[in-house]
Symmetry: C2
Subunit: 333 residues, 2 copies
């Protein structure tokens, strides 16, 4: 474009200046719930480097893969995982159809609100509960049940729906990365079909970008219509060393950024760190006033070995209390 | 926009006319290797309907999922699947490191080019060959081996590299669908990691949109570096009733269009047909001169039950001889 008059040049200069200013504001405003501490600076610096066309760390858009753990990283996981709350509520809802549960453990204890006995039943007991509440129906039926539960259940501490117990700074981070050409994935130990009904609406992440644990499924024709039946057999556990396996299975590329909060994310971060450039970040729960404070000794979301490795290797550790201006989005009621 | 002068209006009308004309040409030219037969008309009609904003069959972009079988649908599968040719060549390449193969079946027969005995070893024999050639290395090492083989191997009949034994009309169809907002996936019985190294370049389909059969993999630290080791255990068979399971596992949405060529695609097409609107298409190999002619009695890529169902339900059956002007892209040497 050739600019012919001084007035035109002045107008153009003003316009260009406005563009730069808007862009600068957009950049600094992309993470408004983050304090201007080291964590935010390290994130913005990384994104600037990998998106700088011609720069030494430039990464083409197709390879800008970012993977996020869910429980404890994007939403609350205390006092126990949301999916466990769902399973417990389902047992109570289904109890009238299962009189045998009045005498059979761990169902009996669960129905009597005796959580100690339920937890003492261990992995075998929890698997019984998962099988009874997550399988024996079609995928469509399960999605329906999850949707209904999420619409009515409330977190016991925060008294709001679980999809509102998500971390506002992380929602901003998801949007900021996508705005810079990243494809955002969830890589969670939670059940993939427990997450897919709501992740698009809550996180802006579509079903095909949700990786999680799964049960085996079987194709069948029911009343002339094809359906997928959920079977009481574990197909895949997407946790710990399973996370890099799941990432390779579903994505087939190594992420350049990975976000976790517990020892279950350690191998995902190690896998990501083995490529360059790469960003590894751990959300540390340090805010007992606004959320919860827990790490090395927590039964849920334990952060111990991964914290040591983060410290040794210089991964970003987010201190929720210091680094985040707010925790949750405004209540939406 | 308010048009103030007649000249302006005339110019605008001419411009609008040009746009319509260009659009019409772009539409009719999107599938130049397809004859103007019913198959092409049915495809174009479907795409017009699902992309017509406000129309009764409009489908939002996010739900425009199209799944393609690979062997026999996108590239040649005769005289045997390409991946089998790869496995046989790998046995020969690895033989010097395996003197025991000189006496152990089915390796002995394979090394003596006694294909009859190899095939007579059945599924157990083929699995031995797959384990010996596809596992016991890292995912990176396997991708390297596949890439090297594809760069040098030639199809026995067409004397060109396998990535050039792809169907030109189907490449056009992939691009046409993507141009209309579809997300294109491969859903193949072949190994997912055998396809991922080349599908982006050949089909324009990225690794995260490749669904296939897989072996179990294990995360481990090797010489201080994380790696994924390929194990000699089947993880998932993405064929027949496994295809809708794979589609749900990896995509979590039902496709609105599915493309296959054999009985192994029947359930994928049934699953797709259970949603509305939907397009189901079968490529039938009817061209013994330009490619191969086979269907109900072929050991490789048998098309029998799915052909009956296509006929009964009005699915599109492409007759390669009548419907396609050309089969392969020009040789690229």
């Amino acid at each position: 474009m050739k600019l012919r008059t001084t007035a035109f040049k002045a107008a153009y200069a003003a316009f260009a200046f406005t563009l730069v200013a808007v862009s600068a504001i957009a950049q600094s405003d992309a993470l408004p719930s983050w304090n201007d501490t080291g964590a935010k600076k390290a994130i913005v610096d990384f994104v600037d480097r990998v998106t700088e066309m011609g720069g030494p760390d430039f990464v083409p858009v197709d390879d800008r893969i970012a993977t996020f753990d869910n429980d404890g990283t994007l939403w609350v996981e205390q006092p126990f995982y949301t999916q466990i709350a769902f399973a417990f509520d389902r047992v109570k809802a289904l109890a009238p159809q299962h009189p045998e549960w009045n005498t059979e453990q761990p169902f009996k204890a669960l129905l009597e609100n005796d959580q100690k006995t339920v937890l003492a039943s261990g992995e075998a007991g929890i698997m019984k509960i998962i099988a009874a509440t997550h399988t024996g129906m079609t995928t469509d039926e399960f999605a329906e049940v999850v949707g209904q539960w999420l619409a009515t259940a409330r977190h016991p501490q925060f008294k709001r729906p679980y999809p509102e117990c998500v971390y506002k700074p992380m929602l901003e981070l998801l949007a900021y990365l996508r705005g810079n050409g990243f494809k955002t994935y969830i890589v969670s130990g939670g059940g993939v079909e427990f997450m897919r009904p709501w992740t698009q609406k809550v996180y802006g992440i579509p079903p095909e970008q949700i990786i999680g644990s799964s049960v085996k499924e079987k194709f069948q024709i029911r009343n002339g219509q094809p359906a997928l039946e959920r079977l009481p057999d574990v197909d895949f556990i997407d946790d710990g060393p399973g996370k890099p396996v799941g990432i390779n299975k579903f994505i087939g590329r190594k992420p350049i950024a990975a976000f976790g909060s517990s020892d279950g994310d350690q191998q995902m971060l190690e896998w990501t760190a083995s490529g360059k450039p790469s960003l590894m970040l751990i959300v540390r729960h340090t805010d007992g006033d606004r959320e919860y404070a827990y790490d090395r000794k927590s039964a849920v979301g334990r952060l111990d070995k991964a914290l040591d490795e983060a410290s040794a290797r210089g991964w970003i550790v987010v201190d929720m209390k210091k680094d985040w201006k707010s925790i949750f989005p405004p209540a939406n009621r």
